[in-house]
């Protein structure tokens, strides 16, 4: 039996956390093993856990742990790495999973270096394969990640356990079961605050102007270099508002300073999975496309009929966005008058 540990540097169960647990269940199914979920943070009060429920008494996750220590507030990378390292000696996992997100991507490689483990970031798929081990056969974990900006996928095998896996957001089905508060066990760690060489002093929220975060949005209207400036994004916001969605951007639009960097979608921005993604004035560079591959329907609006975005879109309109977007706003308005949501 293998042990699959999910390390969640969080005090809340959100979509990224559920996806990491979902990926861990897939690992456990493939290799044969059990899943252990551990939260690391300043408090043992985890938001999003379920209270005891007689209708679903059995635990779907074998072990639920929390590593809570007051020195984990404010955030200091070294102390999270140290807490994770101590957690490993308590759990002794074969596979360690981290969710997507900047905190996990900051601490996971440092943990890998400290324990001499292989690490694969941005994992989008996994399976197992049989490898001969003496007279019998063992199962090895095979991991898949995009490389070359998403133009290719690499299939990787770690030489020996443990292996650290950072899951790409919106690549795995989220765990849809219940994490019961009564099952939580705490793990004690010893942290030396003088080991912290960096710590958080301020958080600046720069969410989209819409209420729905990009990763959760059902509809995203996104603008790129073809927008030509920040002004046109007001139309994109208007269209997004009428469709009940939010606004995103390509790296080119963010680098130009037209919109905040937190709107960036793509390989090094947000990974999104909306029902509808409308790409306006976006050429379709693979580093952008890789962030939207999970969208159910991609609509491309571009003046250049040869733009690569049309190769990966489901529906396309060739035209100037200054004309197409206002026409779509009018149509969307008519639609919601006829079929109020």
């Amino acid at each position: 039996m293998r042990t699959v540990l999910v390390i969640l540097p969080a005090s809340e169960v959100r979509r990224n956390e559920r996806e990491a647990i979902g990926a861990a269940q897939a690992v456990a199914r493939e290799l044969g093993g059990s899943v252990c979920v551990a939260f690391i943070g300043p408090t043992s009060e985890i938001r999003g856990l379920h209270e005891e429920d007689s209708r679903a008494p059995e635990a779907e996750i074998e072990r639920l742990l929390v590593v809570a220590h007051p020195h984990l507030e404010p955030y200091a990378p070294e102390l999270y790495v140290s807490a994770s390292e101590q957690l490993l000696s308590a759990v002794r996992p074969d596979v360690i999973l981290f969710p997507g997100g900047t905190i996990a991507l900051e601490i996971a490689p440092r943990l890998a270096h400290r324990i001499g483990a292989a690490i694969v970031t941005d994992v989008v798929g996994l399976r197992s394969e049989g490898v001969p081990s003496g007279s019998c056969e063992e199962k090895a974990l095979v991991l898949i990640k995009p490389v070359y900006g998403g133009k290719a996928h690499a299939v990787l095998v770690a030489p020996r356990p443990p292996v650290i896996v950072c899951v790409r957001p919106r690549a795995f089905d989220p765990f849809d079961g219940r994490l019961l508060r009564s099952h939580v066990r705490s793990v004690e760690v010893v942290l030396d605050p003088s080991a912290a060489r960096a710590h958080l002093v301020e958080r600046i929220r720069e969410a989209s102007t819409m209420e729905v975060p990009l990763e959760e949005a059902r509809v995203i209207v996104s603008g790129g270099r073809g927008m030509g400036g920040p002004e046109g994004f007001r139309w994109l916001q208007e269209l997004a508002r009428r469709l009940g969605g939010t606004v995103g951007a390509s790296r080119a639009a963010c680098d130009a300073g037209w919109v905040p960097a937190s709107w960036q979608i793509g390989q090094t921005g947000k990974k999104v999975a909306p029902d509808l993604y409308i790409a306006v004035g976006i050429s379709g560079a693979s580093q952008h496309v890789v962030g939207i591959s999970k969208a159910k329907c991609i609509v491309a609006i571009n003046t250049d009929p040869k733009a690569p975005i049309f190769k990966i879109a489901d529906l396309g309109i060739v035209g100037e966005y200054q004309k197409v977007v206002p026409a779509l706003i009018a149509e969307a308005e008519r639609l919601y008058e006829e079929h109020p949501a």
Binding site: T102, I103, P109, A118, Y148, R197, I204, S286, L315, E331
Partner: protein, 268 residues
């Protein structure tokens, strides 16, 4: 203050997917599908260093480093062309696998040799493997502060204030000096273009080479550091989407047909 910027050479990420091919033997991009360029996030890191040098009253010296074959000197020339003060090529023996663990160990040895160093900057990830690990490994190797996804760096007292990208926006991180930071892009660190004269000077510059064998004593141990992965295969993912172009006499007609089509497909 001395700033070391770590650079890496990658296949040009801008080559279109239609021209991209794999070499199944090497399990990598086929040679010749595109030129080799400086990793874009390393350009952002270089820009952060250059702006610090311009802003600070104290003397700032910027040294660019890369690990690779002699041809990797091209990325160092790029750094010199935007007026890095110095550049050093760390030459690894041919035929060895330069995984992140090995690269970080070599860079750490070079940084120690360059001491005193106050700040090491790397790109947040390379545009070929998207590992995002070398900077973090380097912080561990050196035992220094390590902050990832940094877009801006300020000197504050004896340490640094770094503006770090978070999932919800930004975070300000206070880090001790010396520190390692991995740099992400924002509108303040868009790489500058070199002047023609500086490009010509950089092309002629003598680039010092440090041999890996001189930097790290125990070579046998170096090539077995960490836990490298085995690349089983590489494939080009197929996208099964087929684009239906919405036609119409007028833009209004196209817009109406698009909304109808989205309704028909039960997207709206």
């Amino acid at each position: 203050m001395r700033i070391v910027v770590c650079l890496t050479q990658i296949l040009d990420p801008e080559i279109p997917p239609s021209e991209f091919r794999l070499d199944p033997e090497r399990k990598a991009a086929a040679e010749g599908v595109g030129r080799l360029v400086l990793n874009i996030f390393d350009e952002n890191a270089l820009e952060v260093a250059l702006q610090l040098r311009e802003r600070l009253t104290e003397r700032v010296e910027i040294i660019a480093l890369t690990v690779g074959p002699p041809s990797a000197a091209d990325v160092l020339r790029k750094a010199l062309s935007v007026r890095a003060d110095g550049a050093i090529l760390i030459v690894a023996p041919e035929g060895v696998s330069l995984n992140g663990f090995v690269v970080a160990r070599l860079l750490a040895a070079a940084v120690r040799k360059l001491q005193p160093v106050d700040l090491v900057l790397c790109g947040r990830e390379a545009g070929d493997w998207h590992g995002g690990q070398v900077g973090a490994f380097l912080a561990e190797e050196l035992g220094w502060a390590g902050v990832s996804f940094v877009a801006r760096v300020e000197v504050e007292g004896g340490g640094f204030l770094m503006r770090r990208q978070s999932d919800e926006g930004w975070e300000i991180i206070r880090a001790t000096r010396p520190a390692v930071a991995t740099v992400t892009n924002d509108e303040t660190n868009v790489p500058r273009l070199p002047k023609v004269r500086d490009t010509l000077l950089a092309a002629r510059a003598e680039i010092p080479m440090w041999m890996a064998s001189e930097l790290v004593g125990d070579q046998e141990k170096l090539w077995t550091v960490g836990a490298p992965l085995e690349v089983r295969e590489m494939f080009i993912p197929s996208d099964s989407r087929v684009c239906e172009m919405i036609e119409g006499e007028t833009i209004e007609e196209k817009a109406a047909r698009l909304i109808q089509e989205l309704r028909r497909r039960r997207i709206l």
